[in-house]
């Protein structure tokens, strides 16, 4: 043991030296372009604050960890909560059973309202009726546009994925596209599949699905490259998430293809790509709005008995198209991570 420990203690010295050296270098090694310093400090979208009694609202989604899209939903919900004097309890789990448990958890906490996503409606049916039995109003957002009424939710805020896909298909027709590939980054996700199905419905050209491994960007890149090489007649790559779209632009140049990239959803880097023209357009479902409206609507219901959409119709937050003509108006909000 003794002799094995010695080399380690000796190795600490270079590590300390390295840390010290890097600390010294920090001063002299600053970047003259980009970075935090050049980031503009935008004003935030916070309004005044309501003087209604403090209440607690739970937002339970099927977000998988580290997804930029859901981060924007959450920011919208937080903004509404801050305005309405609401304490927001956020929780998420992509596994439907675990998501149901999180809803149960919210019921146990006796919250004043629950907002949920219905990616897998059947798994949440029981727990939603439990919430109703406990007298807690439940609203839906994002996923489940065809199921929220069946489950007896008060109101729904989101985008009909099939309608959004159909919108994209129509847009492709107007651009004269002939052959498209729809890139799905998570196999078995209903919402994503519905988008591609919607495209298929209205697009007069040919469209086929391509599955990629969304957690491994190099793999996404080479898989799309491979597809473009296998079928050189593809003129449009449709992606279902902003980070995937940015990677797809690299695949297009790698494959020496002339295909254009169009995508669902938006983020800060994507607005840059649209103004540069590397991405043609994005279909935006305004996730910030979904989170904001879901929380705000619970406040309106509690304080004034209002139903958005009369409790009969869903409130659609998309599809809104963002392309070169209107990207500048959107970009400054996307830069803050709220659009």
């Amino acid at each position: 043991m003794d002799r094995t420990l010695h080399p380690r203690s000796r190795r600490i010295a270079p590590l300390v030296a390295m840390a010290a050296a890097s600390a010294l270098l920090v001063a002299g090694c600053s970047s003259s372009s980009g970075g935090k310093k050049s980031e503009e400090s935008g004003d935030s979208a916070s309004a005044g604050k309501a003087n209604t009694p403090r209440m607690t609202v739970a937002l339970v989604t099927h977000q998988s960890p580290g997804d930029t899209f859901w981060d924007i939903v959450r920011k919208g919900a937080e903004a509404a909560a801050a305005k309405d004097n609401i304490k927001l309890v956020y929780s998420a789990d992509p596994n439907a059973g675990s998501q149901a448990n999180l809803v149960q958890n919210a019921i146990d906490q006796k919250v004043d309202g629950i907002a949920i996503t219905l990616a897998k409606p059947d798994a949440l049916k029981d727990v939603v009726s439990k919430a109703k039995a406990a007298g807690i109003p439940v609203v839906g957002l994002n996923s489940g546009v065809s199921d929220w009424k069946k489950l007896g939710l008060l109101q729904f805020f989101g985008q009909d994925e099939t309608v959004a896909g159909e919108g994209l298909g129509n847009k492709l027709n107007s651009l004269g596209a002939k052959n498209a590939v729809c890139v799905i980054q998570e196999q078995g996700n209903i919402g994503l599949t519905q988008r591609c199905d919607g495209v298929k419905k209205t697009f007069s050209g040919k469209v086929e699905n391509l599955y990629v491994n969304g957690t491994d960007m190099p793999s996404v890149k080479s898989t799309i490259t491979a597809k473009l090489k296998q079928n050189s007649s593809i003129d449009h790559v449709i992606t279902l998430g902003a980070p995937i779209a940015l990677t797809a632009t690299q695949s297009v140049s790698d494959a020496g293809s002339k295909a254009k990239v169009a995508t669902f959803d938006l983020n800060k880097d994507l607005t840059g790509a649209i103004s540069k023209g590397t991405v043609e357009f994005a279909v935006d479902q305004q996730p910030y709005l979904q989170g904001y409206l879901a929380v705000d609507s619970l406040w309106l219901y509690k304080t004034n008995g209002n139903y958005s959409g009369g409790g009969e119709q869903p409130i659609l937050t998309g599809p809104a198209f963002v392309d070169k003509s209107n990207v500048d108006a959107v970009a400054k909000f996307a830069a803050k991570g709220t659009r």
Binding site: M18, S22, S31, K37, S64, T215, P218, K229, Q230, P243
Partner: protein, 356 residues
């Protein structure tokens, strides 16, 4: 041949003057070749390659091959240290998210402090090596199996990646650093490509082969290589004959940290930003490439060149299915069947070779 009693352990011929004393060198050259850990996977890789050459005409071009090799290299660079660690008798479940930790560190550090990106790159290396050292130290100190220790690190890193990124950037992805000083230089090292006869070849392919050559040399020609085999084969007897077990294990984990750093830098400089939730599940692909490459899960056996073919097979199957234009609903199933098939070939070859 069937009369021999002793198993064919690969010990050099005994010191006797006669080389043909009936105990060694009896087996034919072909069989001796087959007994090497990388031969099974080599044949498997050739089979998969030929299969897709026939099934997918698009594979036959040079640029398609470059895409397959690029995909293989991003797996293969990590599969190398993972394989060495496995030969040393341990494995690392945190290697997939450690890649993202490294990329996040480099990106956020340079962006938030507005520094030359090389500063971020260096600090990320220190962080990655420290994670490896922590894994190794924790394992040696507590005597817990590496499965448990690295499962813990895996979960810790997954949470830290998310929480720290959100805390610092207020987003779950990092900011674009492509306009910052040093970016273009670093991109040249980690994520550039060059032209060979009209085909764009990614630099990771070169690094992959260089690292494989170094790993092979270390494993077969250095004292450290012997230590790896020794601690993987039997830790206690290795310690008894004076092999520094603690040192070897900790440095092997640090080597995985180095690989995670390298691939993390590749991802950062080829995609400009990093999403904090990525990398989960990749550790199993690295381990799979190493196992397909002839490394035993129990340690003490394997090679560095085997995982090169293992990673190639992974890349070939993954991209080949796309080149062949098969129904994508079956994608994962195809991948599984092909890999299982290749592993069985591998196993069969090894059995045939070692049976006498």
């Amino acid at each position: 041949m069937t009369q021999q009693a002793e198993p064919a352990v690969t010990i050099p011929p005994a010191s006797g003057p006669k080389e043909t004393d009936g105990r060694t060198a009896q087996r034919s050259l072909a069989l001796r070749l087959l007994a090497r850990p990388e031969v099974g996977v080599f044949l498997g890789a050739v089979a998969v390659f030929v299969f897709f050459l026939i099934a997918a005409p698009a594979v036959r071009s040079g640029s398609s091959m470059a895409t397959v090799l690029y995909q293989s290299s991003t797996i293969g660079i990590m599969a190398l240290p993972v394989a060495l660690l496995m030969i040393g008798g341990e494995f690392d479940l945190s290697s997939g998210v450690a890649v993202i930790t490294s990329a996040l560190t480099a990106s956020m550090l340079s962006y938030q402090l507005t520094m030359n990106v090389w500063m971020g790159v260096i600090v990320a290396l220190v962080v990655s090596l420290a994670i490896g050292a922590f894994n190794g130290w924790m394992m040696v100190r507590t005597g817990l199996p590496s499965f448990l220790v690295t499962l813990g690190t895996f979960l810790i890193l997954q949470g830290v990646n998310l929480a720290v990124t959100k805390l610092i950037t207020n987003n779950v992805a990092t900011d674009d650093i492509s306009t910052m000083d040093g970016f273009d230089q670093a991109k040249k090292v980690f994520a550039s490509s060059f032209d060979v006869g009209g085909v764009q070849v990614k630099i990771t392919i070169v690094w992959w082969l260089v690292f494989a050559a170094i790993a092979t040399w270390v494993l077969l020609r250095t004292k450290y290589g012997n230590w790896i085999f020794a601690v993987g084969g039997n830790q206690d007897s290795a310690r008894a004959v004076g092999v520094p077990v603690t040192f070897t294990k900790i440095t092997l984990f640090m080597l995985v940290g180095f690989g995670a750093w390298f691939i993390g830098m590749h991802q950062l400089f080829s995609f400009n930003t990093v999403q904090s939730g990525e990398g989960v599940g990749q550790e199993l692909i690295y381990i799979a490439a190493a196992v397909i490459g002839g490394c035993l899960l129990t340690g003490g056996y394997g090679s560095a060149i085997g995982p090169v073919f293992g990673a190639f097979m992974f890349g070939m199957v993954q991209q080949g299915i796309v080149y062949a234009g098969w129904n994508p609903d079956w994608f994962k199933a195809f991948l599984g069947v092909m890999l299982l098939g290749a592993t069985l070939i591998n196993l069969w070859v090894r059995r045939t070779a070692t049976r006498r």
